[in-house]
């Protein structure tokens, strides 16, 4: 003990100078000091010298001093995570996690039970997600090197992040409710907004890259801090043992232990870290906490994009997302399109009952649908939804007519989605054949029924929100007939399929979904023409017609000149060259 004390005494001054140099402006100095301190603390830490002492003894004053400087060091490192310089952020992260490992290992071995120094890690997580300078380097370092590799780090990260976010959101709310907002409060609010935003962005950017979420308990096998094998767990006999080991810088140190205690009661053998359900729980908690945060449009879209593949499968109770998705679905525009996927997963796999689903779907076919980026994703689902043969004819006809109407304003890559889809629908619902083929007898019959008075006006009502009342079945798909004369030969040819016999097999929509102008253009230009392309045979006289004002002519000729100019300018009247 004495030796150690002396050692501490000796090093005390050195520690303080090194700690001071951490305040230095030059990153190089900080870097060196950081590592120097790291090397100094590692042996002490691995011997448990820096633990909170059990009894307060005078001789331990030096130890306390050491411990203080260690705490100071850790705090500083956590701040460095927030540093502008990635060259400092990354090493501080590495050092912090190494320290975490050493500390936890010491505690595990000394206690004989699995111990994760979560208080330490909590600070790291906080440093990571509440971070203004969370850049790519730090992100990739953390995600690739630690987070996606080690199950325990992931587990505790999710747990801590949820906690931090919840704390932040809860702290924000009461402020809002409080009376008149002072200027200071307003700045606080702005700060809060900023913080929430950071939390949101950073957490999402980490969660987005989650790749190693276990789907089976057996997959939980990689640990940053040794494996919590059952043998060690078995050694946990009494609560006393646990309480002996308190964290350094411990304010609410028992948190982790309490958790463990409660779990050990229910499931004696398996610690929560090895249970799939607990992993899922922390995952759900974290996401639910995250979704409560205000978010930007882009992040919103991104979340909805990964919802059905990356989030819902790992949720403990996916139905918790129901409200969120329903609200998103009702938001309109691209958000609705994206929410559809997650919603569908819920309906399909988790028995969500959604009333007026098709009506809502019908109303998603709006003027911008064919022009947004996510149309292929949407149509993949639409194809699925409309694949049922049990849908009422009016409904299907309304969908068909609406799609056909939209095709009139669609870009070519949109039209090539719509036409095969319509074709498949008509094939599947032969009673919709009247949309493209209404011989005289059928027409007169419907006229008797009082549906149509005058066919010259399209009976279909585009603005009717209910597909069952749009009267589409009485209409005809003139739009497709018009598209048979589309400027792009591929589209025109495709539109002509409605004129052919309906004996082709259904189209595989997947072949048509991912076209863009670029792909269509490439398809047009990449094939070499076999023969010389046709040439024009009228020799042009000008590139742009120029109105010549002939001055020498008499005024009588003015009319003639006008006529002549009009002739020259034919087709280009709106410009003056």
């Amino acid at each position: 003990m004495k030796d150690k004390c002396n050692l501490a005494d000796r090093n005390d001054t050195k520690f303080s100078t090194l700690l001071e140099s951490l305040e230095n402006k030059s990153p190089d100095v900080i870097y060196d000091a950081m590592y120097a301190l790291y090397r100094a603390f590692v042996p002490l830490l691995s011997m448990g010298e820096l633990q909170k002492p059990k009894k307060i003894v005078d001789q331990n004053a030096a130890v306390m001093c050491l411990r203080d400087s260690y705490i100071h060091y850790v705090n500083k490192l956590c701040l460095f995570l927030n540093h502008e310089e990635p060259g400092l952020q990354v090493p501080s992260l590495n050092i912090l996690l190494d320290l975490l490992k050493i500390e936890s290992i010491y505690l595990t071995t000394s206690s004989g039970a699995y111990y994760f120094s979560n208080n330490h890690f909590y600070r790291i997580v906080e440093g990571l997600i509440d971070n203004e300078n969370f850049n790519e380097h730090l992100q990739t370092e953390f995600i690739d090197k630690y987070w996606n590799k080690y199950d325990d780090l992931r587990f505790y990260f999710l747990k801590n992040a949820a906690k931090i976010i919840n704390l932040a959101t809860n702290s924000g709310k009461p402020k809002d409710r409080s009376g008149p907002i002072s200027k200071k409060k307003r700045t606080n609010e702005r700060l809060d907004d900023n913080k929430l935003n950071n939390l949101m962005e950073n957490t999402f950017s980490i969660l987005e890259n989650l790749r190693s979420m276990p789907t089976d308990a057996s997959e939980i096998k990689d640990f940053w801090i040794g494996h919590p094998t059952p043998e060690i767990v078995n050694k946990q006999t009494s609560g006393n043992n646990e309480e002996e080991f308190k964290d350094i810088s411990d304010e609410d140190g028992g948190h982790d232990m309490n958790d463990k205690k409660s779990h050990t009661k229910s499931q004696d053998k398996i610690p929560p870290i090895l249970q799939l359900s607990s992993h899922r729980r922390v995952f759900s908690d974290c996401w639910l906490a995250l979704l409560k945060l205000p978010m930007k449009q882009e992040s919103y879209k991104k979340i909805l994009l990964i919802m059905h593949k990356k989030i819902i499968p790992h949720m403990l109770q996916p139905t918790m997302l129901m409200d969120y998705l329903t609200e998103s679905y009702n938001a309109g525009g691209a958000i609705s399109l994206l929410a559809l996927n997650g919603l569908f997963t819920l309906i399909h796999e988790h028995n969500l009952d959604y009333p007026d689903f098709y009506k809502k779907l019908y109303n998603l076919f709006d003027r911008n649908l064919m022009h947004v980026k996510y149309r292929s994703r949407f149509f993949r689902l639409v194809d699925l939804f409309l694949s049922s043969t049990h849908l009422p004819v009016q409904l299907v006809a309304s969908f068909i007519k609406r799609m056909s109407r939209l095709s009139l304003t669609s870009p070519p890559h949109g039209i090539v989605i719509l036409i095969p889809l319509i074709y498949n629908l008509i094939r599947r619902h032969p009673s919709c054949m009247v949309l493209i083929h209404r011989p005289y007898e059928i027409k007169s019959r419907t006229e008797d029924g009082g549906h149509i008075n005058n066919i010259s006006e399209d009976p279909y009502v585009f603005d009717e929100p209910d597909p069952m009342n749009s009267n589409a079945i009485a209409s005809s798909l003139w739009e497709l007939k018009t598209l048979q004369n589309h400027y792009l030969p591929n589209v025109a040819t495709l539109a002509k399929i409605f004129q052919d016999k309906f004996n082709k097999p259904s189209y595989n929509l997947e072949d048509f979904l991912d076209h863009t102008y670029a792909t269509l253009f490439e398809a047009e230009t990449s094939k070499k023409p076999k023969k010389t392309p046709a040439l024009a045979f009228e020799k042009p006289n000008f590139v742009f017609p120029v109105c010549e004002n002939i001055n020498n002519t008499e005024q009588i000729d003015a009319e003639y000149q006008e006529l002549r100019n009009a002739n020259i300018m034919k087709g280009w009247e709106i410009f003056r060259f």
């Binding site: 003027r367 109407r405 669609s410 309906f502 047009e524």
Partner: protein, 829 residues
């Protein structure tokens, strides 16, 4: 016939017995008495006949029977019974007669071939043959007499007609007499021949002559004929003399005629030359002859070397030229229409013809370029020859001191100098020159102001060059638009970075697209250059954000360009209409639309509304001007102030231009069934415009456009009927009942495809024939081999025999010699 069982010998015996050749009832078993008495007809021949008959009877060993499976009664199947031995024998016999004969006569030349008529025709009897031969001979003679009738021609001998010379000088055969006088003199005939004796009472005085005796008469006749002969000889001699005289004189006369008069020697015929030579060998000197020969030879040579003038096309009259031009244009128009419908323009009947003419249609015609030659004369200070530039820098160097007005002359001269018809390398040169010229134009249009007059002059040359080097021109244009597309895509993806810069094409890109649509037909259903270009223009219209007036003008320019491209084919361009409608919304006077939902139509509309384009108040503006291209180009080229596009005057012009384009498109798409759906938004938008924001003239204009749109929509709605696209025969339901054939026969082919059946049949036939031929050839070679072996054996036996006989002789001689020696030895001799 024969009993089964027993040895072959026994069976033979029994057979013979049955046939009564041997045993009881046979001739040998009959007693002499019986023979004499009972069956006198039975003689030796009878037995022979019987044996022959037996031999011809079918020997079961020679029969080969194929066992039939599933035999059906009453059905005749060929080839169950065969007599291979007999067949083989027949084959061998046949080969002996044909193949072996041919083989024997192989390598043998000569011989007599009887070519007389009908010699090889067994159907004709001898009599018929003879008759026909006779007839032919007669005919041949007859035809020959007409062709080579020697009697009609006057053949001469020593200048005397052969007919005059009588080889047979006997008086009774002479042909020299008058026909009516006959051979015997007149009196004799009259009096001595038939009927002459009855006229004695008329000629009393001559009755004394009658009294002449027969011998006297004969003597008189002989004397007379002798006299005649003598006279004839005299006449002949006289003729001969005259003839010779004439022959001698003839040369002189001929010389007179053929004497050259003015140096130009009329070409003497070969005969004449020959005769000249032969006749004048005495008189003319040798030099003279050689001179004449030379002249002749020269002439012949000249004739041989002289190239004949070819018949040329006569110069066409003006109408004909016009007609041809019209026909050519009509032909091209038909081809264009076919391409517009997406058909192959050359799949007509006269495709080959058209193809041939197509290539020579325009600029390949060397005269074609010289048509526009007239203004060439005004540019005296220009050089007349220029090298063909291969890079833009070279071209710019050439044009260093050239005025803009003269650039097209330079280009023209370069093109004339390096016309494709003049040399093979010129094609390569022009292929390099074309991109240079295009680059030059695209380079020049970046200037300010844009030299429109210059490029207007150059576009004709570009057009002609494209006609001359279509492949490389196509490559050039395609590579250009590919670059443009790549740039656009790149800019769209990095749109966040450069917001200020317009995404729409630059002036040079505009000009490129414009020229492209002028040199290639824009109405084709599919065209390797125009189709991607259209797609690119549509992409510009659809994806470039419309944020200010400049973008608006760019878009309108593109819309106008696309409209012009579709004037003929009237294809639908949704992007252009979308753009125009969006422009109408953006240009709407302030306060027209309060919310996104209130905007009619289903064209895409981003929620980011651009208020900068809203018309504020234009009640003071009387009339709208057309959009100023020079203003636009100067701003695009970075030399103008963008603010010129930020005032109500401009916005009003843009609005009127947009409305005008909408009207044009509406007129163009009038025929399409969904035209009312296409243009409904436009009229609805115009409806919502508060017209009090405009001056009265503008109001009237807008109203008239609105009315036009309304009218067109009404018309199209009235004329359209429900679609009836499926007028096909109903699609038959698939049946799963197996298809049975009534009265199926395995021998028949039930192939539904006639052509296929035919082909299969032909194939089977071919296979069969091939197999047959192979079999025959095998048999042939076998036969030849047999023959050869037999021959060799024969030869060998012959040889052996000869050797044996020789050996025999030698042995006997040797034996004799030995015997002699023995005898000598023992002293016998």
């Amino acid at each position: 016939m024969a009993k089964s069982g027993g040895s072959a010998l026994k069976r033979l015996k029994s057979t013979l017995k049955e046939a009564k050749v041997i045993g009881h009832g046979s001739r040998s078993s009959m007693s002499k008495k019986q023979k004499r008495k009972g069956k006198p007809k039975d003689d030796k021949n009878d037995t022979k006949d019987k044996l022959e008959f037996l031999k011809n009877q079918i020997n079961p060993f020679e029969l080969r029977v194929t066992k039939t499976k599933h035999n059906v009664l009453g059905r005749k199947v060929k080839g169950i019974q065969g007599r291979p031995g007999l067949k083989r024998q027949i084959g061998i016999e046949k080969r002996k007669q044909t193949l072996l004969v041919e083989m024997e006569s192989r390598n043998k030349v000569g011989g007599l071939i009887d070519r007389r008529f009908g010699e090889n025709d067994p159907t004709l009897s001898l009599e018929e043959k003879m008759l026909e031969r006779f007839a032919r001979e007669k005919k041949q003679r007859h035809s020959k007499s007409s062709l080579f009738n020697l009697e009609d021609d006057d053949l001469t001998h020593y200048g005397q007609s052969l007919t005059l010379i009588d080889d047979f000088d006997e008086p009774d055969l002479s042909l020299n007499e008058e026909v009516d006088t006959g051979i015997i003199d007149h009196d004799t005939v009259d009096k001595g021949h038939f009927g002459g004796f009855e006229e004695d009472e008329q000629n009393n005085d001559e009755s004394e002559h009658k009294k002449k005796s027969k011998t006297e008469v004969m003597k008189e006749v002989i004397a007379k004929s002798k006299m005649h002969k003598y006279e004839r000889q005299l006449v002949q001699e006289e003729d001969e003399r005259v003839c010779n005289e004439l022959d001698n004189d003839l040369d002189e006369i001929r010389n007179l005629i053929s004497l050259p008069k003015s140096g130009v020697v009329p070409l003497p015929t070969q005969e004449a030359a020959f005769r000249n030579k032969s006749v004048s060998n005495g008189s003319a000197s040798k030099k003279d002859i050689s001179d004449k020969d030379d002249a002749y030879d020269r002439h012949v040579r000249e004739l041989a070397l002289d190239r004949r003038t070819r018949p040329t096309d006569r110069i066409k009259s003006e109408e004909e030229i016009a007609l041809e031009e019209r026909e050519k244009l009509e032909r091209l128009e038909i081809a264009r229409k076919r391409r517009m419908e997406g058909l192959d323009p050359e799949s007509d009947d006269d495709s080959v013809k058209r193809k041939k003419q197509k290539r020579t249609s325009m600029a390949d015609d060397p005269d074609y370029d010289h048509i526009s030659d007239d203004d060439d004369n005004n540019h005296y200070n220009l050089a007349y020859t220029f090298p063909c530039p291969t890079t833009l820098a070279e071209f710019l160097k050439i044009l260093q001191d050239v005025e803009d007005e003269e650039v097209h002359v330079v280009v023209h001269r370069i093109r004339v100098l390096h016309h494709i018809k003049l040399s093979v390398e010129n094609r390569v040169k022009l292929e390099k020159f074309f991109p240079v010229l295009m680059d030059y134009v695209l380079h020049r249009v970046q200037e300010n102001p844009v030299p429109i007059l210059l490029i207007n002059k150059l576009v004709g040359h570009i057009f002609d060059l494209v006609q001359q080097v279509p492949e490389s021109a196509t490559d050039y244009f395609v590579s250009k638009i590919v670059t443009m597309e790549n740039n656009l895509t790149k800019r769209l993806f990095s749109s966040g970075l450069k917001k200020s810069k317009s995404m729409f094409p630059t002036i040079s890109e505009f000009i490129l697209l414009r020229i492209l649509s002028q040199v290639f037909p824009t109405s084709d259903f599919h065209h390797p250059v125009v189709t991607p270009a259209q797609l690119l223009m549509a992409q510009y219209l659809a994806q470039c954000p419309l944020s200010n007036g400049l973008d608006l003008v760019s878009g309108l320019l593109l819309c106008n360009l696309m409209h012009e491209c579709q004037v003929l084919s009237k294809r639908i361009i949704p992007e252009a209409l979308n753009f125009l409608f969006i422009a109408l919304v953006y240009l709407a006077p302030q306060g027209t639309f309060n919310s996104m939902e209130s905007i009619p139509g289903i064209f895409p509309l981003s929620s980011k509304f651009v208020p900068t384009l809203q018309i504020k108040d234009t009640i003071f503006v009387d009339d709208a001007n057309p959009l100023d291209f020079s203003q636009f180009s100067s701003v695009m080229n970075g030399n103008g102030n963008i603010n010129v596009f930020d005032n109500d005057l401009f916005r009003l012009s843009a609005l009127m231009a947009t409305l005008h384009l909408v009207e044009n498109f509406a007129k163009m798409y009038n025929c399409t069934p969904a035209s009312s759906e296409l243009f409904e938004p436009a009229s609805k938008i115009i409806d919502t415009y508060p017209l009090d924001k405009f001056s009265s003239t503008i109001k009237i204009k807008i109203a008239s456009i609105r009315e036009t749109l309304e009218r067109l929509q009404k018309f199209s709605k009235k004329s359209r009927k429900p679609l009836e696209l499926q007028h096909h025969r109903p699609i038959p339901l698939p049946t799963y009942i197996p298809k049975f054939q009534e009265n199926f026969s395995i021998d028949k082919h039930y192939d539904t495809d006639r052509e296929q059946a035919k082909l299969n049949k032909l194939k089977a036939q071919y296979k069969k024939e091939r197999k047959g031929a192979i079999r025959e050839l095998r048999k042939d070679s076998k036969c030849i081999a047999h023959h050869n072996i037999r021959k060799v054996k024969e030869k060998d036996t012959l040889y052996k025999k000869r050797i044996n006989s020789i050996m025999g002789i030698l042995e006997s001689e040797q034996g004799e010699k030995k015997a002699y020696e023995k005898a000598k030895k023992y002293g016998k001799i």
